[in-house]
């Protein structure tokens, strides 16, 4: 059993499509927003795969760096969305 570049890209495609599906399917704003980190995880997987299988010696870390940045962007997006949604009134 081995992992090829194409199988990494398949996984990345699946994550991006699932994230898009979640964002489109949910009726509630913050639930739909939860699809964004899934899409960004897919993009990060593609970057990590590129850095593992298809990069030159000099550029191997750039894919990993992009994966780190995408995880931070996902966190920022969710924090901003929940912040904009605001706190519920106390009962």
């Amino acid at each position: 059993m081995t992992v090829s570049f194409v199988s990494v890209l398949f996984v990345a495609s699946a994550l991006i499509a699932v994230g898009a599906f979640v964002a489109a399917w949910r009726r509630e704003l913050t639930s739909a927003l939860a699809g964004v980190p899934v899409m960004l995880a897919g993009a990060g997987t593609a970057f990590a795969g590129i850095s593992r299988f298809a990069s030159t010696e000099d550029a191997q870390l750039i894919g990993q760096e992009m994966a780190v940045l995408l995880a931070i962007v996902a966190l920022a997006a969710v924090a901003l969305g929940i912040g904009i949604a605001g706190r519920e009134a106390p009962r």
């Binding site: 979640v22 739909a32 980190p37 010696e57 760096e65 931070i72 924090a79 949604a85």
Partner: protein
Amino acid sequence: MDSLHAIGFYVSAALSVAGGLSLAFLESRRRRGAALAVVGLGAAGTYASLSAGLAGAMALLCYAVIALLVARRDYRAIALPVDDRWRQVAGVGAALLLAVLAYSAYRGSFAHATFYGGPIGTAAIGRLLFSHDALATEAITALVLAALVGAAVGWRRERSRDERQREQPERRK
């Protein structure tokens, strides 16, 4: 890549895809937070099996915080005025997106290179962040700062006039 890493990759990938799919159908916020934590765990495992351990650790941390944020009880639910028909069209669109991406991954003639396996660590990634990709790092930090300020401002809830009037007599007592 040896079999152990390959098994780890496929198990992690299945975890993250299953966690992502369950996000579409779970109703409780706590369960959605748990599903996002599973997505993060799967993504971290995928990165780690692709020799990106530091990226995996960062993803695990970021997705744990995202899961905690989503699992909170006290944010407002904002319903989007979306018709059922459009949701179904969006579902078909996501399936088409998957088909197009998978086809391009299968048919694309990508450049292949052998893995060098050189030193990968915090210092090397830090050097890249602050020298080679300083602009991207600045852009991300500006985005994170804007997100945090926006979240802090948005989180402050303006009290309604009724609530303020209700509090006034209580203070006089």
